[in-house]
């Protein structure tokens, strides 16, 4: 064993961290998120343990729905990364392909991924825990549709960042969505959050879907208000994020970043 070879590799990695904010942030990111999410879950259980019926129903349902959002986002971002890794972006953007067509293709890929993953997860839940996600009833359809759109919003946003900042921002493809998890109130109700965080969570369409899911499961009442919020927020944010994607493409073309994004 030679120390100089080991230190050479350590220095090589430190060089990466020295110039990469996303890499440095990642060191703190996951422990922080774990603390926030599990902290709120603990708070929820401590406060409402006796009043909450069917924990398994809540948690498994939430987990399956969260994974749909996650796969929807991944469907967009990973499709872009596949082109970046294959050094194929130049072939695509020098063709008649429009940015909107590129997004439409990645969104379709995302729907296909969500469909397959949902079937697998729902089947496993029945097999291992005798839990049927269909217990949510007919509301499952608008819930899933809205979560897929929220996944697209996060996916397009992340893709724009990777396009703008290059390969060192790749880590966002896996980490960005989890930034939204604490304010999506996946495993606990919005009221567990401090007031200031509740205000932020209100602007997150996913939070309204998970609130809606808990309402349906605990009271059976139609979650019309939650759905209305989610649809309006998703519509506005989707339009905004697509406009931002177009702006990013134009900026990258102006700065010559589109041809260097894979370097």
């Amino acid at each position: 064993m030679k120390l100089h070879r080991i230190t050479a590799l350590i220095v090589r990695h430190l060089y990466l961290y020295r110039r990469s904010l996303p890499r440095i942030m990642e060191i703190f990111y996951w422990p922080f998120l774990d603390l926030v999410i599990w902290g709120f879950i603990t708070l929820y259980l401590a406060r409402y343990q006796s009043q909450v019926p069917g924990f398994v129903t809540f948690f498994l349902g939430a987990l399956i729905l969260w994974d749909m959002l996650f796969r929807s986002q991944q469907g967009i971002t990973i499709s872009f990364l596949e082109e970046l890794w294959a050094r194929n972006l130049m072939n695509l953007f020098a063709s008649p392909l429009k940015p909107g067509e590129f997004l439409a293709a990645t969104m379709t890929m995302s729907v296909m991924k969500v469909t397959i993953v949902s079937i697998v997860m729902a089947s496993c839940a029945i097999l291992f825990y005798s839990y049927n996600i269909l217990v949510v009833g007919v509301w499952l359809i608008p819930f899933v549709l809205n979560l897929v759109i929220t996944g697209w919003i996060i996916g397009v946003f992340t893709t724009s960042l990777i396009m703008r900042f290059g390969q060192e921002a790749e880590v966002l493809a896996w980490s960005m969505v989890f930034l939204f998890q604490p304010i999506s109130c996946v495993f606990y109700p919005m009221e567990v959050l401090p007031k200031w965080l509740q205000m932020i969570a209100m602007a997150n369409p996913a939070a309204h879907i998970f609130e809606g899911m808990r309402t349906v499961l605990s009271t059976g009442a139609p979650p019309i208000g939650n759905l209305a919020w989610a649809i309006c927020l998703n519509g506005a944010l989707l339009v905004g994020v697509i406009a931002w994607f177009y702006r990013t493409v134009a900026y990258c073309k102006d700065q010559g970043l589109l041809v260097r994004v894979g370097e």
């Binding site: 596949e82 953007f93 020098a94 008649p96 073309k253 010559g256």
Partner: protein
């Protein structure tokens, strides 16, 4: 009415304080092969990237087939293609799968026949079913050329298309390009660091240095103008001048 298929006027690209391309103007006529020469950093690649709509010009205009690229991107790029030693294609797909994807992207009709024709034309039969990751660099170059020919373009931008090919395959590619130009009136913008190839292929040559056109004409006209023995000597003169001015 312009007879050129490509008309570039006062094309300029600045990245902050650095001017990569500075007021470049040129035309390509139908069926013409125009050589774009210059040392590294002269602005060749940035020029081609602007012609492909990958980089937005700071000033100037690009017209192809009488249409402005800034307002008719889709119609123009439908009739244009490119190949470069420096690009790649999805590595996990087979050669034929890659060609099918490109054909669909450009809306090529009768894809199966067209892919078969192109594979035959570029003598790719023995590796057309191979995964792209496993191709040699010469085979990869032929794949990117096949991608460029597949869509039946009216203008082809070729950035060092024969750089990694053995002399025999490179000769076949050059013959194919000349034949395509003869039979279909294909216009080509060609860059290479092989000066003999440039002399053989180009009807006209443009020399770029520090983003500006410093010479234009047939290979012989340029050689005579600078009193050099061949194009390589002219190239060396410009490359050394550029290096000296940068240092």
């Amino acid at each position: 009415m312009s007879t050129s298929v490509l008309k570039v006027s006062d094309l300029t690209k600045r990245f902050g304080d650095f001017t990569a391309v500075n007021g470049v103007s040129f035309e390509i006529r139908p069926g013409e092969i125009l050589g774009l020469l210059g040392p590294n950093g002269a602005g060749k690649t940035t020029t081609i990237q602007m012609l492909l709509g990958l980089v937005t010009p700071t000033a100037g205009s690009i017209h192809m087939f009488g249409l402005d690229l800034s307002t008719h991107r889709e119609e123009i790029l439908q009739q244009v293609n490119f190949s470069s030693t420096y690009i790649s294609m999805p590595q996990s797909l087979t050669v034929e799968e890659n060609l099918w994807v490109v054909a669909r992207l450009y809306g090529v009709s009768d894809i199966a026949r067209r892919v078969q024709d192109i594979v035959k034309k570029l003598e790719m039969e023995e590796f057309s079913g191979k995964i792209t990751r496993k191709l040699s660099s010469g085979q990869m170059t032929r794949l990117t050329l096949a991608k460029a020919f597949l869509t039946d373009p009216r203008i082809l931008f070729l950035d060092e298309p024969t750089a990694s090919l053995d002399p025999d395959v490179a000769h076949k590619i050059r013959s194919l390009l000349k034949e395509e130009r003869r039979s279909s009136g294909l216009s080509i913008l060609y860059t290479s660091h092989n000066m003999r190839e440039m002399e053989e292929m180009s009807d006209r040559i443009i020399f770029l240095q520090r983003g500006c056109i410093v010479a234009e004409g047939t290979a012989q006209e340029i050689i005579d103008r600078f009193g050099k023995a061949d194009l390589e000597e002219v190239f060396l003169k410009f490359a050394r001048e550029q290096r000296q001015s940068s240092s």
